[in-house]
Symmetry: D2
Subunit: 339 residues, 4 copies
């Protein structure tokens, strides 16, 4: 990325929680010029009015929300557009932006699945642009860096999937675990549900509350299984349960799988280190390390620990990330910096 | 229990969080006279001073903490003593109380295990009174009511174990699941760690934090496996992971197990209902029901829901309870009212 | 209240947070039969479905929400109707219920002000039934018990006003403070804003957030000043600031006023004790006592402490209550039990 | 500050919450080389072990805690030492560091008061080094920039005082308010109490709790009155009440004062703007603006809003800051960058 010339970027659908993190990260990045933020609801308002935490930030004072108009983004010479839109809305605007020659990094689920049939199974309707599914690259930089570099349409992973896939990939690739035995339990902060008026997301409903939801078939399961299957070289099906916990941000995920005979804790450590030692945003806490969301919230790190339960022959994988950063905006920017 | 004559009770070690719940529940109970509260640290202070929430409660104003002296409890004609003491301390005082003819309901882990060898494995020292292990009854009223009625020493279950054991017992007894496939993920509020000065339990450490701990071998695993083995009629080993989440009270537990071939969701429902339909403190939310800790905190209920994941052949068991009530003080009183 | 014959009651607008507390308290009360709950949104649904925490409660299983129809409430022979409706909606339904001979206890602000002009100033429209303003009694039992006993229309006080008025009334009545010097700072949990879908009330907005709002003229100021003026025997105007803090329930209020010359801390204590010593739900913590919301949440108590700042000649009044109980449902039931 | 040559700094007492923020901010600052962190308790341990959030940070991996030994800091050629020690401990180590020629920026209260008698009144013992009180400069950069530039010993202000003093200084300097009428109500997150094992600071004690404390004479009152008196040109005494609210970080302060006759809201705005328009870290929200701690936590900003209550002739001043940054570590670095 040239230092001298800043890349013009836009955030489409910038008024939600992921959008806010994109604003924060792109405003700070010296190689980027943030030329437009769009929001149907907030069009015409200053960023610092809608998001008062950006008052006084260099670059923020002049920014106003505009309507999500592809022609306007083209006039502004946007090179890369980040889409932080609800599922289903993203695909609609992605196509004209791609046609206009922009790189699109989509934070929604619209282009994450390769198989339109799986999309229909999990999202209950036909995919609006199936011809783009094969072109889109799943934007998990630690796993698909080479493909991301060449991509024009990057489907940035979901928050839960990032926390489930990253710890499992090395073990599946090296065939250390039995793919039929994976169960995973994930706990997310409430910002993961988005910034929308909804009684179940009220403070007085979520505070002092812990509960599972979307059992047994959360939509993110589809992309998780796609990526695990790719790593394993065979079809993988897992049981995945999501829980809402009273923190604003952060995902803590615990995953269980049976080790193949003879696999030791030392071998697990070796394989983890082999894949992630030089991954800047993966922090390996080692055997026995228990990640804590408070150590990653506000950062693009994912912390990973593991333990072997000798009594049952299972490995326990522990991961923690900020759902809005490593699980959304930060990871999207990681892909952007590769591309 | 006679209505006319109130049973004299004492709480030994009443200054912690479970002790506080015992005070609350026993003060309110018309069949009980709470004649003594002991606490080494608080001896001499009024209850309403140490626990200001009891100011103005009938019966609380006159209560003062006293030293934990068995002779004094005998003088006060205590019939039942509840022990809410740290692990290890309970056994010491239980013996003289039992010798003095009192019924002892111990909320600590000291008498929960039948096998002194398992005790040594999990608690790292020899059991101080192994001769009492066979006499103690594991105080889970929905499972061991008959034995509790006859017991003089009741070992009230741990908070986590209650939430894990109750949903599994009917399925293990009826052989609906493969006992070798059980994994369980439990999330607890911070009061579960007790009322002790400790940096990791500070508000500023636990707030906005979600993390696993005691991986892979939490001490409660020992009593869980004991009870699951009893229900299954064979040795059961499971993988059990505990997490700290930022709520004051409440445990939310999610358990996975492979169904035996041909077992349907309807059969799971039938078996659950069969065991718990008339259990006053078990609320079955049915297939697809997701318990929420906020609906049980402050009560002695455990809410249980379940789902069958057809794609993987697993059952997902969901439970929620108040760790200090159904998981401690309330359950102890349930046993007391049976005995 | 006759023990043998239970009084038939209804809750109109029972699906909000105050309504939920009314359900809880009335279900438990042996002298009350709760014959109807109304809610436009939830009509037709079982209480235990809408409010899962009441599953398994005696009396709750049979209760369904119905439409708020005065004729239906008359058919059910309702003697007392509690209105837990939004401001403005309550007056509409109160009138037919009063005409039908019921006692109405209104938790909204609709009948709290005696002066229709003040109502218009603070609520920005004409009062819909000014002829009832003189008949309504402000339902603060510690202050207006005699009038409440005789009332057919009780305007139950707001949550903030209760916490401000109760500590000040004895000092104003006895002329211990200069009424022109009162400033008050109140902090409320988020349930005070009601159970309505709203972005600013989302968990992710309110968590880790403390902020003032409705500065400088919160609507509750009108009823506060009415009652303080009544106690002082002269027109009182105060400065009152409200803050939102991240707790579900609870109000903590700190009030400052200049003591008249020569007034000592002992005299403040004497006057406080004089008025409240036998008030069952007022707990006086004495000079230097600092109330904590956690000691009153879930109860109908208001805790009051005070301190004299000799350096400035001011008294500092400290109070804490549960905004939904002593500040709403519990206080309404206190009035009901008087009437 | 020269860009080419980085200034060698040390943090003495780095293991607390303010220390952690100093580590974070100094590690990131390009003009600073952080050469030593001291901590009696943590000496010998790596920073990334004690504070896992710094794992993987450039510069953090090599840092270990050392003993707080002045000779060692001299050997390391430390130019500026930040002291993040408890009150009383700071003075002891400050003297040898000053003697060794270092600049000392003390975050404790030890050197904030000019008058040793006031120190004795509020801290209950004689000042250990009264000869340094006249040399120390109160490190509030928006108010004392010139003196800070020349200082060798900077007493960085307390968290509460910063939030109270900054909004009042312009109004007192311009004589807009009556100094005898100031009352102030401040709410702080729990990190303000420090990282020490203490039952009242446990999560289960502070969560769902709001309470006043240290009423009526919090120690910070002494430095507040010193600075307000300086601004007013006369002795000022105020009433100041502190509250603990369940957030990790953040202070929200609301201050009341009577305006002098004829002072308008427009004049208040003019005077605020006059002093702070170009203050980089003061964000003026204008008349009616209500600061929210969530917009300043994690930053060095203090947000200030105000309102005039025409009915009572008072001004209401509203401020919010991060207690650990603008209220501690960030402000200390602001002074450092001036000096």
């Amino acid at each position: 990325m040239a230092v001298m010339e800043r890349i013009k970027t836009a955030i489409v659908g910038a008024s939600g929680y992921s959008g806010e993190q994109l604003v924060r990260l792109l405003l700070r990045h010296p190689g980027v010029e943030l030329v437009a933020l769009t929001s149907r609801q907030e069009a015409g308002r200053a960023v610092s009015e809608v998001m008062p935490k950006f008052r006084g930030w260099p670059g923020a004072e002049a920014l106003c929300f505009i309507e999500p108009d592809p022609a306007r983004l083209r006039e502004l010479a946007v090179a890369t557009a980040f889409l932080a839109l609800p599922h289903g809305v993203a695909a609609e605007i992605a196509l004209p932006l791609l046609s206009a020659g922009m790189t699109v990094i989509d934070l929604s689920a619209d282009f994450r699945l390769e198989d339109a049939a799986v999309y229909r199974e999990f999202y209950d309707h036909d995919h609006p642009a199936p011809e783009w599914l094969s072109e889109a690259v799943y934007g998990l930089p630690e796993v698909h860096a080479d493909r991301i570099k060449a991509a024009r349409l990057i489907a940035s992973p979901g928050c839960y999937p990032t926390s489930v896939i990253l710890p499992l990939v090395p073990l599946l690739r090296q065939r250390l675990i039995d793919p039929g035995t994976i169960t995973t339990c994930a706990m997310s902060g409430v910002s993961g549900a988005g910034r929308k008026a909804s009684v179940p997301l009220l403070f007085a409903e979520c505070n002092e509350s812990v509960r599972a939801y979307s059992v047994p078939k959360h939509r993110h399961l589809s992309e998780i299984e796609q990526e695990l299957s790719r790593a394993a070289g065979e079809q993988v099906r897992i049981t995945f349960t999501t829980h809402l916990v009273p923190v604003t941000a952060g995902i803590c995920t615990t995953t269980y799988a049976s080790l193949r005979p003879g696999v030791t804790a030392a071998r697990v450590t070796e394989v983890m280190t082999g894949l992630y030692e030089s991954a800047r945003f993966v922090r390996l806490l080692g055997e026995g390390g228990c990640p804590d969301t408070k150590n990653v919230v506000g950062t693009n790190f994912i912390d990973i620990g593991w333990a072997v339960d000798d009594r049952t022959g299972r490995v326990i994988l522990l991961s923690a990330e900020d759902n809005l950063i490593k699980g959304a905006a930060g990871q999207a920017i990681q892909s952007f910096l590769l591309s």
